[in-house]
């Protein structure tokens, strides 16, 4: 099968759906001729032209607000805000408007909006360009939150997100854009709320998403040589969450590590741990262990950033701890 970059897979999902739906548009700064801050929309403006692929002023709240208005009146917006760190500028439009409309107006009109953004560090981008804020949105009823780890998953999930009648926060990862994976030529979708077992194992379940899946798979490969069998479960979307696949894995291995790049305190791992404690407590042979960024902002130079963000060493240590 052909291998393409993560960013190309995302672009293909948008292009395929935009060719089918003339009222679907991509809106954001730099998405036009420039081709996107991470080159995701390269070439799209040439094909679709203004308004369908439209450069916006730098005004995140206004951009998402425009997307909400457009998406409740017969068209559909994909808003791109390249850095997740800029989403706090758009919180009213996301949290008070997009997330609430269908509920507030008792189902009169849903908001079929996709907000694409990129999280994550490991690129020496410092405090305001490295954050993982996905759990802020998990907390808000009415939003769906998607966190793919491969180009294949990203393409299938983004197509589902576009076709979903609800607002979806689609979180890509800056470090993964050039990563290649196998993506078939033919069209496919992956339903939101379907976890994927990225590696089967019997001794411990590691729940990881986005770039953390790749670090975890490296650790699993290393530990295999010692006879430790690690199962890696990628939820792929945090809302909706495929609890069944995750809990089945927990019931099989009886030991759990949750890995995310977001800060450990208040991160999604706490939510996941609570669900497991609630629904599979008697299956656990050890306390649940979390690995996340240490609770500081993300500093710039390598030796500091690497100390703060999750590393293969820290994931390995956590696995050994729950197996001890």
């Amino acid at each position: 099968m052909r291998k393409i970059e993560f960013r190309t897979a995302v672009r293909e999902a948008m292009e395929e759906e935009m060719r089918k739906d003339p009222l679907l548009f991509l809106f954001g700064y730099d998405v036009g001729e420039y081709g996107g801050e991470f080159r995701v929309s390269q070439g799209m403006h040439a094909e679709f032209g203004d308004r369908r692929v439209q450069d916006a002023p730098i005004n995140e709240n206004g951009m998402v607000g425009l997307g909400v208005g457009a998406s409740i009146t017969g068209t559909k917006a994909i808003i791109e805000i390249a850095f997740m760190d800029f989403l706090p500028m758009a919180m009213d439009a996301i949290v008070n408007q997009a997330a609430k409309f269908n509920y507030t107006f008792a189902g009169q009109r849903s908001v079929p909006l996709v907000l694409r953004t990129a999280m994550g560090g490991y690129i020496r981008a410092a405090e305001q360009h490295s954050q993982c804020l996905e759990n802020w949105f998990v907390h808000v009823p009415g939003l769906k939150v998607v966190v793919p780890s491969t180009g294949y998953d990203a393409k299938g999930l983004l197509k589902s997100a576009i076709l979903d009648p609800n607002p979806v926060i689609f979180v890509e990862h800056k470090f993964m854009y050039p990563m290649k994976s196998e993506v078939p030529e033919e069209e496919y979708t992956i339903p939101l709320g379907s976890a994927d077992v990225k590696r089967e194992g019997t001794d411990v379940t590691v729940i990881a998403y986005s770039y953390m899946v790749h670090l975890t798979l490296n650790v699993a490969k290393k530990l295999e040589k010692e006879g430790i069998s690690v199962e890696v479960v990628d939820p792929r979307s945090l809302v909706p969450l495929d609890e069944e696949t995750i809990l089945n894995s927990v019931r099989k291995t009886n030991r759990v590590v949750i890995v995310h790049e977001a800060h450990e305190r208040g991160g999604w791992g706490g939510e996941m741990a609570a669900i497991i404690a609630d629904k599979a407590f008697s299956d656990l042979d050890a306390p649940i262990k979390r690995v996340g960024a240490r609770n500081t902002p993300i500093p710039f130079p390598a030796q500091l950033e690497e100390f703060i963000l999750p590393s293969e060493d820290r994931i390995e240590a956590a696995i050994r701890e729950v197996l001890a």
């Binding site: 002023p57 005004n59 709240n61 607000g65 408007q97 008792a106 189902g107």
Partner: protein, 327 residues
Amino acid sequence: MEQNDPITQINAKDIRKIYETMLKIRMFETKEKDLIQTEQEGFAHSYVGEEAIATGVAAALRQDDYITSTHRGHGHMIAKGGELGKMYGELYGRTSGYCRGRSGSLHIADFDLGVLGANGIVGGGIPIAVGAAYSIQLRKSDQVAVAFFGEGAMNQGLFHEAANMAAIYQLPVVFIVEVNHWQCGVRYETVYHPSVIENVAIRAQSYGFPGEKIDGNDVVEVYQYAKKAIENARSGKGPYMLACYTYRIETHFMGDIDIRPADEVNEWRKNDPIENLERRMVKAAIMSGSEMEEIRDSVSTQVTQAIDFARQSSKPEPESALEHVYS
């Protein structure tokens, strides 16, 4: 006035409708002020004194045109054709309400009437109207979107963002600023530079579209300017702003404390938009006193019936609160 009064340029049927709509808003709000302090729960914000704005603008709109409204939104909804029974139903928290009784005064919407929602966030509706206008342009439709908001909202960064996007994309949107002199408990003089205060519409210029100050208590003037602004937008010439100067006769929310000098409020009461219209209709021989009486009685009956309808409708089941989180 008399013979040269521009009211004579509007046909009698339209004037009658305008008068009836203004009365509907007035009587709806007057009753509501009592009801919310006695038999309803929650908060509501009165549109009394500002009826000419929603009525004049809506009279110039088609049913398929869009509006976004505000926390002070009952008037916009009624002017766009909202049913009084469903509105009271919402205010009573009953299943007969526009949102099945779950959302209350701040969130009344009827998408079939093009009402994209009242909005509890000050300024929240402005970019939504601009987004609706973006959709209109993409669909190559000839609809128009109108954003109603107060001068308080005009200091939100969101207003700036929305106005700029409307201008650069030449979108069919009209910004209606209701300058009612009070931002909750703060005088508008406190939050505007003296050079802007006399005409907040001068801000439109800086974005690149026209803005005009008009008398927000004169429904004929509002209607005529709105018609011009809306036709401008409909014909692809882009956004327009009207700063409609008026006054918030009631307190910020119904039952709130009032720090305003009584003299100031009373002075504005003398400039009542409905009484102004009545006087002009008589002078121009458009309507007699008895005809007005008839309309008043009819509207009063409609309001009473709407309240009865709401009172008699059922309360939502607690479990219904779980519905519609997602579509």
